[in-house]
């Protein structure tokens, strides 16, 4: 046994591998935040496991001095599910990209959320395939020219949050690679949530899709374009929070708070009985709306990995764990 510091610091979570992302890649900022936030969760480092698929984003585990597996393309959630069922006490993180989670891995992504396996998924969305040098992904806007769409992409993108809602997710949030404090807060919420948590992280790929999220990060326009969701609070944004969101039937509209009156603004509710509000928010974004960030939804829901263990324990309470007896069930006869 090596003796380890009582309280961990960011350094304890940095592995000895040198980080091999492009200089200026948003992944670097995300790594820094995760390394900064994990020690604050007070979970022993050896009980944390990082599982990723394949992609630039999926190299993440190599840089974290925790347990981890760099698996294969799109399958990280399945490995995480198996691990969690074997070792429910571990804190299991999945790190994935927009291609890894939504192209080849779409099915596992969706089923992990549906089952509400107790894992935390970080989806680095740079709206491109980075590692394979720049093809469009399921989140790439139509018309974008890439190596595989020289005349512009003809594919209609999905929205990770919409997919998560369709998959009945119990915790859904969004943050941005460069929103340091915000990301830290969201990560903490995700870690604390019981069940599957999805955090979409808008991440900039400076090489193949630079500026995909400029409207959220550009210092000048940022406040105009970002809607910070806060549970129980009316939805306001703008430099001085002078703008707000009001509901007209099922259609959200941007209003001047002064004119509309704060009391008439839409109030955020992470725990709404139905995901309809979260869904409505997931549709908001440029050009007509600000882009919501923060926790869209966080509800309590039966957790697969817990239910499984409850059934095991329940069965053990009902019946002796007697394998010899199991062998003998049904017709038997004795030869002497």
């Amino acid at each position: 046994m090596t003796t380890r510091p009582a309280t961990l610091t960011r350094k304890d979570f940095a592995s000895d591998q040198d980080v091999r992302w492009c200089p200026g890649c948003g992944n670097n900022a995300i790594l820094a935040q995760v390394q900064k936030t994990l020690p604050e969760l007070g979970i022993p480092r050896e009980n944390i496991v990082m599982i990723s698929g394949i992609g630039c984003s999926s190299r993440f585990p190599y840089y974290m001095d925790t347990y981890g597996i760099h698996t294969i393309h799109g399958r990280a959630p399945t490995v995480a599910m198996g691990l969690k069922c074997a070792r429910p006490e571990l804190q299991v993180w999945v790190v994935t990209g927009d291609g890894d989670a939504l192209a080849i891995g779409g099915n596992h992504f969706s089923h992990a959320l549906r089952r509400n396996v107790d894992i935390n998924m970080l989806l680095f969305n740079n709206r491109i395939y980075g590692l394979t040098k720049g093809q469009y992904s399921p989140t790439t806007p139509p018309g974008i020219r890439t190596l595989s769409s020289p005349d512009g992409s003809i594919e209609n993108p999905v929205n990770p949050i919409g997919v998560a809602i369709g998959s009945e997710a119990s915790f859904i949030a969004r943050t941005v690679d460069v929103f340091q404090k915000h990301m830290a807060a969201v990560l903490r919420r995700a870690a604390e949530h019981r069940g599957a948590s999805l955090v979409e992280i808008a991440q900039n790929c400076i090489i193949f899709n630079d500026g995909a999220w400029a409207h959220l990060t550009d210092p000048d326009s940022r406040l105009e374009n970002v809607l910070y969701l806060e549970h129980g609070k009316p939805m306001r944004f703008g430099r001085q929070g002078e703008k707000g969101i009001r509901l007209n039937g099922l259609v959200p509209e941007v209003v001047e708070v002064a004119a509309a009156g704060e009391e008439n603004l839409l109030v955020h509710d992470e725990q709404a009985a139905e995901p309809t509000l979260a869904y409505l928010l997931s549709r908001m974004g440029p050009p007509d709306y600000p882009t919501p960030v923060g926790v869209f939804r966080a509800i309590d829901k039966p957790v697969y990995s817990r239910l499984l263990m409850e059934q095991v324990q329940g069965a053990q309470a009902r019946a002796e764990p007697d394998l010899d007896a199991l062998y003998r069930q049904g017709e038997t006869w004795d030869v002497t």
Partner: protein
């Protein structure tokens, strides 16, 4: 030890006799050494249940038994249609047997469709019992008969035909009871069973008790079935039509408690037992697929023994979950069949790179593609060996019979943990569904599986090697100070750090190859039944063992100079295999494919091999293997 009696003599490959003569003499009691009975009828006629009853009774009575159900592949095809026919074949004997038998001596056909499908199987001179009542125009038409086969003199002369009005007799027997006609009609399978019980002079008690338990909630139905069973037995006794009764004495069996078991239940029990032998939970993750689904169904009922089952969204997810569970330190297994093995292949390769211990069960069925989902085959051997990108070796085992599935499952985990490698078990539809008696072991009789999870961080390297086994350490998350990352990229030996260096890749590939080769240091030599040198060796693997062994033992008893050996370990081969092969003039390999093991043997040992291969979705018969071997000896 097996004996070649009338049943075998009647196989034309012995060139000796023709069919058993159709005698007409007064009723006698003949004693036989074995018998094969086939019940067939519509899916609704309860043939599986009937067959299982005769099996249980015969087993409890002390015979050796071997059974083979034959389900329709459609869920529920139209009543009376050929596609809807369901059958159950049972072979029981007064000596050790290894197969469900070739051609039945007695065929019970509950309707025209089933007669049409199975009559060709009945051996000449065999007893044919049909429900005459079912041979009305509608039934005949559904089966595609344009005339009533029961009126066909050819049939009457070729077999001992008994066209019994089973339905009518059953209704009569149940006259007294106040039950719907349809409910009474449903008892006719028990009438038929009773008749067969009489034919083979079997006690009714076991079935009477079973009926009592089974229908405990509806006593009148229980009563009806009991009466039907007894009426059938009585009918045999009284009816003039039956002039002979047979007795098949109990077979010598090693002392202990016995039960019958099929391969799917045996493998499920084996996996669970392996975990228990290591004090581990079993995590079994699978996506349903015929004929492997049953393994999931069994384990799902055994949660009280810490069997944790996951029904994944597909086979890829099932494999991924198995990897995750193994990384976590559980005994992790997954099960599937051919098409599912295709889907798992990429993730199996990840397991090979991660060097994690886990078991992959592939219950082979007819291929390629969806193929013949409910039929048996041995077509996935080369896929098991090579169906992954790059050099990706793993150990491959194949059970030799239904009960052996239990022991192979345990052995697979033993190897997986000892060498830190995924192990692939090649089951077969035949073994999965057929049953044989199993001497129930006591858990304490079984050798524990010792598992080490190092927890000393000093000098820890995730890819260091244990000398003898070449295993790397199985360090599990939660162990302080030993945090490490695994991955599918190539590694530096020792540290496991990602490396593209040519020498590292070469060395890691060699290590993975040698590690699997090392398994041979821990497995038994190949054993030969028969002469140590001879003109002919018949080498079988998997489910062909029964037919091959029986056929060769018969030939041996006829004084032919031939030997048999069976491969349970397909990768690596037993160390002595090469030497064994050299000692025989010809090596014949019977397999249900186009010669896959033959190909491996030729490539590995450069020996000429006679590949006796067959793909028909059906197991080999003793007769055809015997015949082919006979030719080679001639």
């Amino acid at each position: 030890m097996i004996r070649c009696d009338s049943r075998h003599i009647s196989q034309q490959w012995f060139y000796t006799t023709g069919p058993v003569p159709v005698t007409g003499r007064a009723r006698v009691i003949e004693s036989l050494q074995q018998a094969t009975i086939l019940f067939c009828g519509d899916s609704g006629d309860g043939m599986q249940l009937t067959g299982n009853q005769l099996t249980a009774t015969s087993a409890v009575y002390g015979n050796d038994v071997s059974t083979l159900p034959d389900y329709p592949s459609e869920i529920r095809a139209p009543a009376g249609s050929l596609a809807g026919v369901s059958a159950f074949q049972l072979h029981f004997a007064s000596h050790e047997i290894h197969t469900p038998g070739d051609h039945p001596d007695v065929l019970v056909a509950m309707n025209p469709a089933s007669l049409k499908v199975y009559l060709p199987r009945l051996q000449p001179g065999g007893v044919l019992i049909v429900d005459r009542d079912a041979f009305a125009t509608r039934g005949l038409a559904r089966a595609g008969y344009d005339s009533n086969p029961l009126d066909d003199p050819a049939i009457a002369s070729r077999y001992r035909l008994h066209a019994v009005p089973l339905l009518t007799l059953t209704q009569q027997a149940l006259e007294g009871l106040d039950l719907k006609r349809s409910a009474k009609a449903r008892c006719k399978n028990f009438f038929a069973l009773g008749l067969v019980y009489w034919l083979y002079d079997r006690p009714l008690q076991q079935s009477l008790d079973w009926i009592g338990q089974k229908f405990a909630r509806s006593p009148d139905v229980a009563e009806a079935n009991r009466l039907a069973l007894q009426a059938g037995f009585h009918y045999g006794e009284t009816s003039e039509a039956f002039d002979v009764q047979w007795q098949v004495a109990p077979a010598p069996a090693s002392p202990g408690t016995w039960r019958t078991i099929n391969g799917n239940e045996a493998v499920a029990l084996g996996l669970l037992t392996a975990a228990r032998l290591a004090d581990k939970p079993l995590v079994y993750s699978s996506y349903p697929i015929t004929p492997a689904s049953e393994v999931l169904h069994h384990l799902a009922r055994w949660k009280h023994l810490d069997a944790r089952t996951i029904q994944a969204e597909d086979e890829i997810a099932a494999m991924g979950a198995t990897i995750g569970a193994a990384y976590g330190g559980a005994f992790a297994a997954t099960g599937t069949s051919g098409p599912g093995l295709c889907l798992k292949s990429e993730a199996i390769n990840l397991a090979i790179m991660l060097e994690l211990p886990l078991v992959i069960l592939n219950v082979q069925r007819g291929g390629p593609s969806t193929g013949l989902p409910t039929k048996t085959e041995q077509g996935d051997l080369l896929q098991a060996m090579y169906g992954r990108n790059g050099e990706s070796p793993l150990p491959v085992l194949a059970p030799a019979g239904p009960a052996d599935c239990f022991y192979v499952a345990i052995e697979a985990f033993r190897i997986a943990v000892r060498h830190m490698t995924p192990v692939l078990v090649l089951g077969e539809g035949l073994l999965a569904n057929s049953s044989e008696p199993w001497r129930i072991p006591a858990l304490r009789e079984l050798e524990p599986i010792d598992v080490r999870h190092p927890d000393d961080p000093v000098g820890f390297q995730p890819y260091s090697r244990e000398a003898g086994t070449l295993a790397r350490p199985w360090v599990v998350p939660g162990t302080p100070g030993m945090e490490h990352r695994l991955g599918g990229l190539e590694k530096q030996p020792g540290t496991g750090a990602v490396s593209y260096a040519p020498e590292d890749h070469a060395q890691m590939c060699a290590l993975r190859r040698d590690k699997v080769a090392r398994v041979a240091d821990f497995i038994p030599d190949l054993e030969v039944t028969g002469p140590a040198e001879a003109p002919l060796l018949v080498l079988s693997w998997g489910g062909t063992r029964g037919a091959a062994l029986t056929a060769i033992e018969c030939l041996q008893q006829q004084g032919r100079d031939v030997a048999h050996a069976h491969l349970r370990y397909l990768n690596p081969f037993p160390r002595n295999l090469g030497d064994v092969l050299k000692r025989y003039g010809t090596v014949m390999i019977p397999e249900l494919n186009h010669g896959q093991l033959a190909m491996l043997i030729r490539a590995t040992y450069l020996v000429e091999v006679v590949s006796f291969s067959r793909v028909g979705g059906r197991p080999f018969s003793i007769a055809e293997i015997g015949a082919r071997a006979g030719e080679l000896l001639a």
